[in-house]
């Protein structure tokens, strides 16, 4: 297990992106990622992707911070690419309504331009969300995250649950590691040498103590919060909440425009979510 994997490896750098309020960044992230999610127009997707890569540069995120993510995403997207083709090589034809064969492959399966466009679009669609998520995760102070959620009208109790998750994840991770080491010292085999069923059983022997100690922790924390009067009022204020300034409004308007633009392209130019150059 990799205990070095840091959650929200946030570090303070003085860039315009870091200075934006968490609320702004959350809304912008949602606007832009929904814009990409909705559109199947490769031109729109590439534009948004170029924009988000530019912002990633502005926010001075180091490659070492995002290497693991990039790796995971590439594996995911490439598998998706392959299995999409294996499962439905005619998806593009179905979507675009025309059929331009490039070459015949095995049997009745052939590669079509429609399929290529569909898969390439999908490839970029999935890739382009990644810089957006990274900017948001790596430039937002985790403690500001809950107040941002509350800012977009998420119930403050739910927002508080999220901030508890972020607060306790490192603790739980450490505890998991400790229990696992202790059990291994007592001879529990978790390596590949053990049989599958044994490994499964042994994993349970770590999970069970972890969960039961967490149940005690829940009791403790909820008593402490009750004593401090948590949840007595309808709303609450946040220590880390920042007031919005001009840069925030500029960012909000910009991302709202991009979102509206993506919808407009679908509605007025393509007349569907797809860009169809074959007609």
């Amino acid at each position: 297990m990799n205990t070095k994997m840091k959650l929200f490896s946030y570090n303070t750098v003085d860039t315009p992106i870091h200075q934006l309020s968490g609320l702004t960044k959350l809304i912008c992230f949602l606007f832009l990622s929904f814009a990409v999610m909705y559109s199947y127009d490769i031109r729109v997707i590439l534009l948004i992707m170029a924009f988000s890569v530019y912002i990633l540069r502005v926010s001075r995120v180091q490659y070492s911070q995002i290497r693991t993510m990039v790796l995971y995403v590439m594996v995911f997207v490439l598998t998706n690419l392959v299995i999409t083709f294996l499962f439905s090589p005619e998806m593009g034809v179905e979507l675009y309504g025309t059929r331009h064969v490039i070459t015949k492959l095995v049997g009745s399966i052939s590669l079509t331009w429609e399929q290529v466009l569909y898969q390439v679009t999908k490839f970029f669609k999935y890739i382009s969300v990644i810089p957006l998520g990274m900017i948001f995760l790596l430039t937002t102070n985790p403690s500001e995250f809950a107040s941002s959620l509350n800012g977009i009208r998420v119930n403050y109790k739910a927002a508080f649950a999220v901030s508890l998750t972020l607060r306790y994840f490192p603790d739980i991770q450490r505890e998991y590691h400790d229990i696992s080491q202790a059990q291994q010292a007592r001879g529990l085999d978790l390596s590949h040498k053990a049989k599958f069923m044994d490994r499964f059983k042994n994993a349970l022997l770590i999970i069970i103590p972890l969960i039961f100690s967490s149940l005690d922790r829940i009791e403790l924390i909820s008593n402490a919060m009750d004593l401090r009067g948590f949840g007595k009022s309808k709303t609450r204020t946040w220590y880390t909440c920042k007031a919005l300034n001009r840069a925030d409004y500029v960012a909000l308007i910009l991302s709202a425009l991009i979102f509206a633009g993506s919808l407009a392209v679908s509605a007025f130019i393509n007349h569907s979510r797809f860009y169809n150059p074959f007609l």
Partner: protein, 186 residues
Amino acid sequence: MKKDLFKVTTKTIVATGIGAAIFMLLFMYVKVPSPVPETSFQTAYGLSAFFATLFGPIAGALISFIGHALSDAVQYGSPWWSWVIASGVSGFIFGFAFKRTKVEEGEFKGKDILTFNVIQIIGNLVAWVVVAPVLDILIYQEPVNLVFTQGFTAAIMNIVSAGVIGTLLLVAYAATRTKKGSLAKK
């Protein structure tokens, strides 16, 4: 009883927060890849079924939603919304086992195990065979046969996960509770 099911106390919130943290941890580290691409045997759903049974549908839904969204965000940079929502739905339905079993009174056998498992199977089927594939098609326009294959695989594996791990956890939990009527008046 209906009212109780959705009651949110401080304990529900804390259980949600901690539960989601454990969910995240299990989701990222304690899983076994399956032969169908992009799916794996997730022990995390055993945990969400367990917490949902102890703390109700709101906690169950939020634990799986937050846990899944954050672990996706940390691993991939952005949540895969269709499956994150499906996770939330599964946790929500698991929560209907809340107060339907006698686990808090230190008893979890026979009929209780059956109730819990029927509910978790319904929850998993709804989430993975209906919600996840349909959202995949609506949001991402994935091929129909691919998403349903993934959905069925996920449903089966999560049913096993919630069934085996969830049941074991509940049995273990029941053993730690004081049995009702264990004190006799002399």
